[in-house]
């Protein structure tokens, strides 16, 4: 999947388009509030998502735009869903196909390798990100490649691909506009489908002014896009290799499919004579019939458009060129063996769970400080590093909307609860939470202690029971009023007015 800018379109007829990001409600922004940055990363220390979220919300224009833009996508998705009678059946089918394929993954991977090889594709296997990077570098070096054009891929983010190539003197140019903006700003993508969605047009204008010399005061979307096109096209045309990811890998045909809205994968794949695709092993599906189910769900879930502008099938190298596929594990086999967390592998990276997530919309994707943000991030990031991402499963109200938009029916909110249990069980829980919950557990297990802990004095700060305010910081009252305590609790009222009645009933 690929991105569209969120920026307002100046075309007065833009509203007449029915579908896709281009027809999103224009969001006016004339201010230039500095762009809030993502989570602060301190080595392996647990990421503090709330700290970064608070900074994002303090940038009110950014937060308001981000929330409105993504909610708009969610509404477009709803509209598409209502247009398809068999929507829930499609979700069942998609989930079933993924479960089936994952349960026989070794078989389908080998089937793909066999058929792809017969198609003239060279298939490689990488057990982790480092191996993927080394394989790709080797292919590039042996062919003297110095510049690579690349279409957006979350897998390469996982692998730290861009940094690795920079260290090895290979220039990488992103062909997806949103991803290119992020690359020029030296930031990770904040969303799996719309990677620069957290930026205002004015942010993009200042990035382009610094990097490609555009007018810093011109934040017109057409102007900015044109500047980028002028700056990047020559680089694209002279690149010696192209790289893509893959949305679906079809075992029976030995082919793979990339879905984009800008045609940027096609640029990457077709311009240079060498095409390398690094793809996670969970992207396998059995056949083309199965593909149809996912194609119907993907873009509708992601952007509320019936289909991506480009759905490109790669079947083998063109005459005189080469095609390589690197099948990357990078923790997926281990995840497949996790009793509770394997369903995360069904994910097709549509981003619908992010668009619907009320926490994500208010925090920005970079606040998670991980490759994957939002609901899907909460349940897969800890599989990469349990300590560093141990706070993420708490960045959720567990409202369950994510589970219900997910086109492949991943039980996201249940897995969030399971992660909390798993983390607490492994001692990967913050000391504040641990102390509070231990105290709460003691108090609530005993009616006598519990009653004694209630705010009998009823003076201002003693209104909440002590076990809720154990952390001493009055986090409840910072932005909310504390409820007043009435003259008597229900328990007191009942003892006074009803208890004797009950006892009378018994005797």
């Amino acid at each position: 999947m690929t991105a569209e800018l969120h920026e307002e379109l100046t075309d007065p007829h833009a509203d007449q388009l029915d579908h896709g990001a281009a027809s999103s409600r224009p969001l006016k922004s004339r201010i230039s509030e500095p762009q809030p940055r993502g989570a602060k990363i301190h080595g392996n220390r647990p990421v503090d998502q709330s700290e970064a979220a608070n900074r994002f919300m303090a940038a009110t224009e950014h937060e308001a735009m981000h929330d409105a833009r993504l909610w708009d996508l969610r509404q477009k998705r709803d509209k598409e869903m209502h247009g398809i009678e068999e929507w829930e059946e499609l979700r069942n089918l998609a989930s079933g196909i993924k479960e089936h394929t994952l349960s026989k993954l070794d078989y389908y991977l080998e089937l793909f390798e066999k058929n792809a090889t017969a198609n003239g594709i060279k298939v490689h296997w990488a057990k982790d990100g480092a191996e993927n990077n080394a394989i790709v570098l080797e292919i590039l070096r042996s062919r003297g490649v110095e510049r690579l054009i690349k279409s957006k891929s979350m897998l390469t983010e996982e692998c730290g691909f861009r940094e690795f190539m920079a260290e090895n003197n290979v220039e990488v140019i992103e062909t997806d506009l949103g991803e290119r903006i992020q690359q020029l700003d030296d930031e990770a993508p904040s969303h799996v489908v719309v990677p620069a969605v957290h930026k205002l047009r004015t942010d993009v204008a200042s990035v382009f002014a610094k990097t490609i010399g555009s007018d810093p005061d011109n934040a017109d979307a057409h102007y900015l896009t044109e500047c980028q096109r002028e700056a990047t096209r020559p680089l694209i045309l002279s690149a010696q290799a192209g790289m893509t990811g893959g949305n679906f890998v079809v075992a029976e045909t030995g082919t793979f499919v990339v879905c984009t809205n800008e045609g940027n994968a096609d640029l990457s794949a077709n311009t240079p004579p060498l095409h390398i695709a690094s793809i996670g092993i969970e992207k396998l599906i059995p056949g083309l019939d199965d593909l149809a189910v996912f194609i119907r769900l993907l873009s509708r879930s992601a952007l509320g458009s019936p289909i991506t502008q480009y759905t490109s099938h790669f079947r083998g190298p063109r005459k005189g060129s080469e095609m390589h596929v690197v099948l990357v594990d990078n923790g997926r086999s281990a995840r497949l063996g996790m009793e509770k967390f394997w369903p995360g592998l069904k994910c097709i990276r549509c981003g619908a769970c992010m668009n619907t997530c009320p926490v994500f919309r208010r925090s920005g994707g970079l606040s998670y400080g991980a490759t994957y943000a939002g609901p899907i991030g909460l349940i897969i990031d800890p599989t990469f590093n349990v300590h560093k991402y141990r706070n993420l499963p708490y960045s959720s109200t567990m409202n369950g909307s994510c589970t219900n938009v997910c086109p492949v029916k991943i039980n996201i909110h249940e897995q969030i609860a399971d992660w909390r249990r798993t983390l607490a069980g492994e001692g990967e829980i913050s000391p504040v939470k641990k102390v509070m919950m231990k105290a709460a557990g003691e108090v609530l297990a005993s009616p006598v202690v519990y009653r004694a802990s209630l705010p009998l004095g009823r003076s201002a700060l003693r209104h909440l029971p002590h076990f809720m305010l154990y952390n001493k910081l009055n986090t409840w009252g910072r932005k909310r009023d504390i409820p007043e305590t009435p003259k008597q609790t229900f328990n007191e009222w009942y003892r006074k007015n009803r208890k004797q009645q009950d006892e009378g009933k018994k005797s």
Binding site: M81, S396, A417, P447, P483, F490, N491, E492, K505
Partner: protein, 247 residues
């Protein structure tokens, strides 16, 4: 039919009138209701945070208090969800299974078990916005959700429609979470409060005078935000409206 009334800690402490309305309402339908006075909590704060071990003794106490009843009814959807779907820190004895399968949220109980078809005493001539707690909505399935392609239904609305004079105010994001989220409201207070403020803004825009819900915890959070924002909105539990409260 013997019903045990569970009054969650928030309701006990801050909204005794909701507990009283629940009790009286059930009695109006001829149900024999008892409130075991030694009750505390359903274990939700600990379970919600992942601390199952810490929840175990509270869950045991809950079962001891309620195992003797045919049904356990509570004016809280999230507590019902905890008991029904998440009370797993203790061994699943017959008593535990009985309690878990017999615990009902008040609206569900009126709608599905008692199959109530009138509240002749109830009149509430006001414009009301309905808030469904997310657990109640998506786990107990008290109403249809906007994410799913399903026939629209709403048990709380079906009951409220039987109240004379009531008028409904429509929200633009009717089932977006309000940000309470149990311990989320304390641990992630920044995002929690922002979501609450956005919810209150939506309620204000709808022209509602009152907000009602079958869950006090969400409303406590929303009311806290509304007061701080100086918003002129009143919050009332659905039990009170159905029991004939006159504003």
């Amino acid at each position: 039919m013997k019903v045990g009334l569970f009054v969650p800690c928030y309701v006990d402490m801050f909204h005794p009138e909701t507990g009283i309305a629940t009790l009286e309402l059930l009695e109006r339908f001829g149900v024999s209701v008892e409130y075991p006075v030694d009750q505390t909590c359903c274990g939700q704060p600990m379970t919600n945070t992942g601390c199952e071990r810490e929840a175990a003794r509270t869950e045991e106490l809950f079962v001891r208090n309620f195992e003797k009843y045919d049904y356990i009814v509570t004016p809280s959807g999230s507590c019902t969800n905890q008991v029904r779907n998440n009370m797993t820190a203790i061994e699943q004895s017959d008593a535990v299974k009985h309690v878990r399968s017999r615990t009902y949220e008040l609206v569900e109980f009126l709608h599905d078990v008692l199959k109530v078809d009138a509240f002749p005493w109830a009149e509430f001539p006001h414009r009301v916005a309905l808030h469904n707690n997310c657990n109640t909505l998506r786990n107990l399935r008290i109403a249809s959700m906007t994410e799913r392609r399903e026939e629209p239904f709403s048990k709380p609305k079906a009951l409220l429609k039987m109240v004379k004079g009531i008028e409904f105010a429509d929200l633009t994001r009717p089932d977006e979470c309000c940000g309470f989220g149990g311990t989320f409201s304390v641990f992630e207070e920044g995002v929690s409060a922002k979501m609450g403020q956005d919810k209150v803004t939506d309620q204000l825009k709808s022209g509602a005078e009152y907000v009602t819900s079958s869950d006090s915890s969400c409303m406590m959070h929303q009311e806290g935000c509304a007061r701080r924002m100086g918003a002129n909105l009143k919050y009332i539990h659905i039990a009170q409206i159905l029991n004939g409260a006159r504003a």
